[in-house]
């Protein structure tokens, strides 16, 4: 409790600044980890659109990235999963049309980077 602010220092009326939840790392909830194989990805954005935790970052690229069958994918592409927030639900793996995401148990990861 001592690390928490006293009543004089809180915003009035219980109001909160926007988007402070990023300080709360839900990655620690994860027991399964999505392992992403970029070489099989068609950057269809299905996983990104369904991810309940906004844990699949994207970027816009003109040069493009190499994906399935060595093809270069331009425009908006997905990046490695953000393990700070990924809860390991497995929706991305289930919905991926190319099956390029596999769920493995956290304990089986070589370097456990769950934070």
């Amino acid at each position: 409790m001592a690390d928490k602010k006293g009543w004089k220092d809180l915003m009035r009326g219980g109001d909160l600044p926007a988007a402070t939840s990023v300080q709360y790392k839900t990655g620690s909830w994860r027991s399964l980890r999505p392992v992403f194989d970029p070489s099989n990805c068609i950057h269809c954005m299905i996983c990104v659109s369904y991810c309940p935790d906004m844990a699949i970052p994207t970027k816009k690229t003109d040069e493009g990235v190499t994906g399935k069958a060595g093809r270069v994918y331009k425009g908006i592409v997905r990046l490695e999963t953000d393990f700070d927030y990924c809860k390991g639900c497995g929706i991305c793996a289930t919905e991926c049309p190319t099956k390029c995401i596999t769920m493995i148990r956290e304990e089986e990861t070589v370097e456990s980077s769950s934070r």
């Binding site: 402070t20 906004m54 929706i91």
Partner: protein
């Protein structure tokens, strides 16, 4: 025609770090609906899973202006915001254009918030109300609501030796909303985000209130594995349990017609709330359910064919 690329390139209204269960479909619904707005969005949120999991003090997952007041009044709060917007605009006190959006769970919409919703629709405020429908009071632990389907077991109407779960049919909230003669009402589901996005665009563009019911399978209380949320939503449409349709200016349009509708068992199986229905003594419940679904689908087709205004 919109694309998934277009949807995901918009900044999401929700930040990560929210406390929804792993595999919950609420945030894709929220992100997709808000992405469809070409103006800044202000949200009024009823007490619900969405509200409690996104604002556990001192952490808010909302990047956009957001207010929660109580359980049953999101539509009334939105009325107030919309009227303030009109007034302050008229008086030159603000310049920004906005869209006003209310979110409620099915409990906060079909049940306790029904009156406030009806009042706001009847008064014609220009706002959109979206119910994400997980078919029960879920943040409070799976109690029955007016949206809970026939035959489902909940903690307040559990299945037992003398009960097969809920003995009533769910309310048809979309038709009830449409009966207010508002410009746009729709039924959507989390698996089809493009459809949801297109509907949300129409809703925001409507000249008056818009209403959408969006199916949101609940991994925790329907009790299935978290990776199957989207799959269950899809099955709900493929079985005609949850048809995707819209009522635009009073006319029904069905957005998805399965080539061959799947039997309802495919949707029911694997969900613990329906597990008891697979006992021999409850065979009649599934049969009755199937009959009702087929009749309702026929009725919807007829409504579409007739093109008679709601």
């Amino acid at each position: 025609m919109a694309t998934i690329q277009e949807i995901v390139s918009r900044e999401t209204p929700l930040a990560p770090g929210h406390r929804m269960c792993a595999g919950c479909g609420i945030s894709p619904i929220v992100n997709t609906v808000v992405a469809a707005s070409d103006k800044p969005v202000i949200i009024a949120n009823a007490t619900s899973c969405l509200e409690v999991t996104t604002t556990i003090y001192p952490f808010s997952a909302w990047k956009i202006p957001w207010v929660h007041l109580t359980f049953e009044n999101a539509a009334a709060v939105a009325s107030g915001i919309e009227t303030a917007y009109k007034s302050l605009k008229k008086r030159g006190k603000i310049t920004d254009d906005v869209n006003i959006l209310a979110f409620g769970g099915d409990g906060g919409t079909y049940d306790i918030g029904f009156q406030a919703l009806s009042g706001a629709l009847e008064r014609g405020h220009k706002f959109m109300y979206v119910v994400y429908d997980n078919e029960g009071y879920m943040n409070t632990g799976n109690q029955r609501s007016g949206a809970t389907p026939f035959g489902a077991s909940t903690t307040t109407v559990p299945a037992g030796t003398h009960s097969f779960g809920k003995p009533q049919w769910r309310k048809n909230i979309v038709e009830i909303a449409a009966a207010h003669r508002i410009p746009f009402t729709a039924q959507a589901a989390v698996h089809n985000l493009l459809d949801l996005y297109n509907k949300a665009k129409k809703g925001f563009g409507a000249d008056g209130p818009a209403f959408m019911a969006v199916l949101q399978p609940c991994t925790t209380n329907w009790h299935y594995d978290s990776e199957l949320t989207i799959a269950y939503s899809r099955l709900a449409s493929e079985t005609n349990f949850w048809p995707l349709y819209e009522v635009e200016n009073g006319k029904v349009h069905i957005n998805y017609k399965p080539k061959e509708r799947k039997p309802i068992e495919e949707f029911l199986k694997g969900q613990r709330r329906f597990k008891h229905l697979f006992k021999p003594e409850n065979k009649h419940v599934i049969e009755e359910m199937q009959k009702m679904i087929d009749e309702e689908w026929e009725r919807l087709l007829q409504l579409e064919a007739a093109q008679v205004r709601f």
